[in-house]
Subunit: 307 residues, 2 copies
């Protein structure tokens, strides 16, 4: 049995022995079938969120495309939906079922927990019980409850959280061009290594600290020489401050009395847990925590199938 | 004599008889020379802002590329800088000289005016006198004074101004993906026609109202069917409200006592003047107001050359 998570940017596969992350932006021509063909003999449990990609004219078209592409490689694959069940074919409930699979697995381990899964692009914040109240929630429902926060460790555009930065005390409007992303912020702050910068750079230049400092400088329409280290780091630090604040305020909203155990997963877990506190899921399940929905849907399928 | 404005996305040419706008995103391979070759026999005055494009490793490289590419078509071209002078070759002062050329021309017509030039991507807000205080201002200086506001009528990402929208009274976080842009907002609000949507759509679909409504729905991770007309228009209206507020607050900052005549130019002039008040420059100089820096640098060059 393998677990598969078809996201908008990455396709993640969890086998009994490890995880495999394939950069595979979703659109009509995405090579999902080719990427999965090495697994064609396996049983597979699948979650998705890539149906929202704007290469599809609507979510149903995206769901159908993903299901067809997966089944072309693995005909017997089953698909987990927001109803908490497995489906054999396309179904509206398959849209964004990934986070519910994570909750469905983790709720047995940590019923009093609140899961914070910070990925490259988004952060899921999920109170694990009562599980039945989670079923049927769409992305829209979660945006309204603060359970889906569109900010991540790599792909968040810097101007998505900053409209102005303070440079040496002077408020400075920012450019809304895609000059720098959160991966640049976390790279220069030492939160990620260059090899963890696994998405394309906005300008096509290197995933290095000097190149990231130049990208951060462009956010205020400057070359690095114009604003220097102090200026470029000010942009990075103010973005990270806003990002932390956004995530922590939504956790607070879902757990105002701080009663729940915060469990942090995802590629940004180490960084975020350091800032917010909370247990790091990777301490329990290792690197699988970086691909939690793919890991979880496999576990739920194994549990459902029984011993 | 022709006027040329080399921006980050468009190359605009003003001749004695009209304007020509060429969509020409700037990077190392941009066909500036080819686009300008029909004008090779002309004298030309040039302004630029495209040197900030992140295909260049810094502004000097961008300036050199643009100057070389223009001179390959028009060897005698002259380039207007933020020092208010014309240069024959690459110079650091050529970075973002476009807005100063506009002011240099308009200040003689409306010394008590404040120019608001709203383009596809950015809005320049320029008190026209005292002109000498405008010289030497970099993009960074203008971001700090509220004279350069990164919002425009076509290319502004919707999440650059909205972190949350109210849908039927419920606050709803938004996606930071580039699902919809200001052109979608202004198209569905009837501020621009489909043929005025002159930039690529984010999803590659049509520049039509139905397609724009689907793009606006994706901002809250939904299909149009999920949130309906009411929801999609709510996204558009709240973006436009924020955009108006951002621009008007910066005008207020530069002219707190409302003493100056507001003169509105650029492709968004009609829309913005309706919302903010002010005179529309196009009523005086026609379509030239949509390419003001290219028009103005030509006028300034003619004035400098004398009769």
């Amino acid at each position: 049995m393998i677990g598969i998570d078809v996201g908008g940017a990455n396709l993640k596969v969890v086998t009994g022995s490890g995880i495999h992350i394939h950069y595979c932006p979703l659109w009509q021509q995405s090579p999902i079938t080719e990427v999965l063909s090495p697994y064609s003999g396996e049983a597979a449990a699948v979650v998705m969120s890539g149906e929202l990609a704007d290469g599809f004219s609507n979510k149903n078209e995206g769901i159908r495309f993903i299901v067809d592409a997966v089944r072309a490689a693995i005909p017997g694959a089953v698909f987990y939906g927001t109803d908490g069940r497995f489906h054999l074919g396309p179904d509206r409930s398959l849209a964004a079922g990934n986070w519910l699979a994570s909750a469905d697995w983790l709720r047995e381990q940590a019923p009093d927990g609140i899961l914070v899964d910070i990925g490259s692009t988004t952060t899921d914040i999920i109170p694990l019980e009562p599980f039945d109240t989670l079923k049927g929630l769409s992305d829209l429902d979660r945006l309204q409850r603060g359970m889906l926060v569109y900010t991540g460790i790599l792909r968040a555009p810097v101007p998505s959280l900053l409209r102005s930065v303070s440079l040496a005390g002077t408020p400075t409007l920012v450019s809304s061009e895609l000059f720098a992303i959160s991966a640049d912020v976390h790279l220069v702050l030492g939160h990620i290594r260059p090899d963890e910068y696994t998405v394309p750079t906005p300008d096509g230049a290197q995933a290095s600290v000097p190149a990231a400092l130049q990208r951060l400088s462009r956010v205020v329409c400057s070359d690095f020489e114009e604003i220097g280290e102090e200026g470029a780091y000010a942009v990075a630090e103010q973005f990270w401050q806003e990002q932390r604040l956004l995530i922590s305020s939504q956790i607070e909203r879902l757990d105002p009395r701080h009663e729940k155990e915060v469990i942090v997963a995802g590629v940004g877990a180490k960084v975020l847990a350091g800032a917010l506190g909370g247990a790091v899921l990777a301490d329990r399940i290792g690197e699988m925590a970086d691909a939690l929905p793919a890991y979880a849907v496999r576990e739920v399928a194994l549990r459902t199938a029984g011993p």
